[in-house]
Amino acid sequence: MSELIEELASGGVHDKVFEIARKLPGTRIFDAPTGYGALTDRLLSAGKIVTAGDIDVEQFKLNPDRKNLTLLRIDLTDPKPAVEDEGYDIAICVEGVEHLENQWILARNLCRLLKPSGYLILTTPNIVNFRSRLRYFLEGRYEFFKRPLVQGKSIVHDLNVYHIAPVSYFELQFILESSGFAIKELYANKYSSRNVVSILLRPLFRLIYAYKDRRDKKRNRGDHAELYRTIMSDEIYYGETLIVVAQKKLL
């Protein structure tokens, strides 16, 4: 059962992703990277038909012969991975993006394997929250990307353990929307950046964005009011891990 399998994600991420996936239409789910299989286990128990993928399937702890489960060794940054095109209702990518070298190929692969109007649930550390912004300003490194990376390790080790690719919400939005998705909802697992300082400074940040929005319009840089409102949402300003729900756009 899921409580016996360690979750390879920040606290609360699996709970939130499971809750979202359960409510979305469709039963065929692609879950990669599956890690030890904790989320896959919960999805199977909820009656879903799951294809679990990972570059390192040796660490998978569920019985691969379990009913409704297909285990797949897969590199999501391979331009042509052996996955059925348009075969899934939901694709789940929990804590994967930041470990991979090619986010663009990942996004295109996830789009390709989804049925038209299928849903993607993707999570990644939120490097635009207050704490991460402060850390980058002071140290030049983002929150969750603090450890210096040691190049002596094998690539597999790097991919499993290291966060090598920080992706901000805006970059993620750009990658997903350019790859055939439309972002529908945004969640956070928890609001770890909510503290006295960030709460007190929030009005100041709102003022900065109001000024930025006004200046953008004045200089014909486009209307970014909606985006700046999103930046100041609780999910982005305080959230620890971003959970993005996107839908595959119809051609």
Binding site: R133, Y136, F137, E139, G140
Partner: protein, 254 residues
């Protein structure tokens, strides 16, 4: 909505346009000439060929130029159409050096590009990368206040994707790691220019220095990491890194 990019500080090399900030080509030229072996050079992306022309006409180097579209106006370099997101059409260990001026921030697959450069550069050869400096104090301050870096100050427009979009902004520690895993060691960090406004941020330096020192000291559980901590710390607190407009990094293939 359309994002407008402005390049106010482009220079002309003869009749060819230099697609980069002021003084960049001068610094890169100096870094190339400092190398003992610099005869065979790849300039990618070459744009109109201003840098290639400079190196051929001034120093008679064997320069190859490549870009994802053929806009090269200089015929003295061997030009091929090549996409930095894919394999480069050159043999293994062919070049003494590769120069990548304002290119890496435009591509989807920077890891693969650096790996590919590792393949085509001879052992002991050099690799020069020029990219917007998001590790500068000014850019870091902007990130704190807005969530955007210098060099990519506004949201990108996915409805109008263009090669000029800066889609891969990379900080110095990230660049160091990407180079290191492909067998490169950073030997020089330079910049094209330090704007007066950038010096205005020097009052922030003591805070950053103190916090970074504490943070890097804390993260040292093993000798390899301690060594890397020190290396990154040193690189982060050089004048070009802290105040420069563009980050110009030279790395050696070991």
């Amino acid at each position: 909505m359309r994002i407008r990019f402005k390049f106010p500080e482009r220079e002309q090399d003869g009749d060819l346009l230099e697609n980069n900030l002021v003084n960049t080509n001068n610094v890169v030229e100096r870094l190339v000439l400092e190398e003992k072996n610099h005869k065979t050079l790849l300039d990618i992306p070459s744009g109109e060929g201003a840098f290639a022309k400079r190196m051929v006409e001034k120093y008679n180097l064997d320069v190859y130029a490549a870009d994802c579209e053929n806009i090269c106006k200089f015929s003295g370099a061997s030009f091929v159409v090549a996409d930095m997101n894919h394999s480069l059409p050159y043999e293994d260990e062919f070049f003494d050096g590769v120069v990548n001026i304002d290119g890496i921030e435009h591509i989807e697959r920077p890891f693969d590009f650096i790996k590919e450069c590792g393949r085509i550069i001879k052992p002991g050869g050099f690799f020069i990368i020029v990219t917007p400096n998001i590790s500068a104090l000014r850019s870091r301050w902007r990130w704190l206040l807005t969530g955007f870096h210098n060099g990519c100050k506004w949201p990108l427009d996915e409805t109008d994707p263009m090669p000029l979009h800066h889609i891969t902004m990379v900080s110095l520690p990230e660049l160091r790691y990407r180079l290191a895993i492909n067998g490169f060691v950073i030997t020089d960090i330079e910049t094209n220019q330090i704007k007066f406004i950038s010096w205005m941020y020097c009052f922030l330096l003591p805070f950053c220095l103190f916090i970074t020192y504490i943070a890097f000291r804390k993260n040292s559980p093993n000798p390899a990491r301690t060594r890397i901590n020190k290396e990154v710390f040193r690189q982060m607190f050089t004048i070009p890194t802290l105040f420069g407009a563009a980050l110009i990094v030279k790395a050696k293939k070991v």
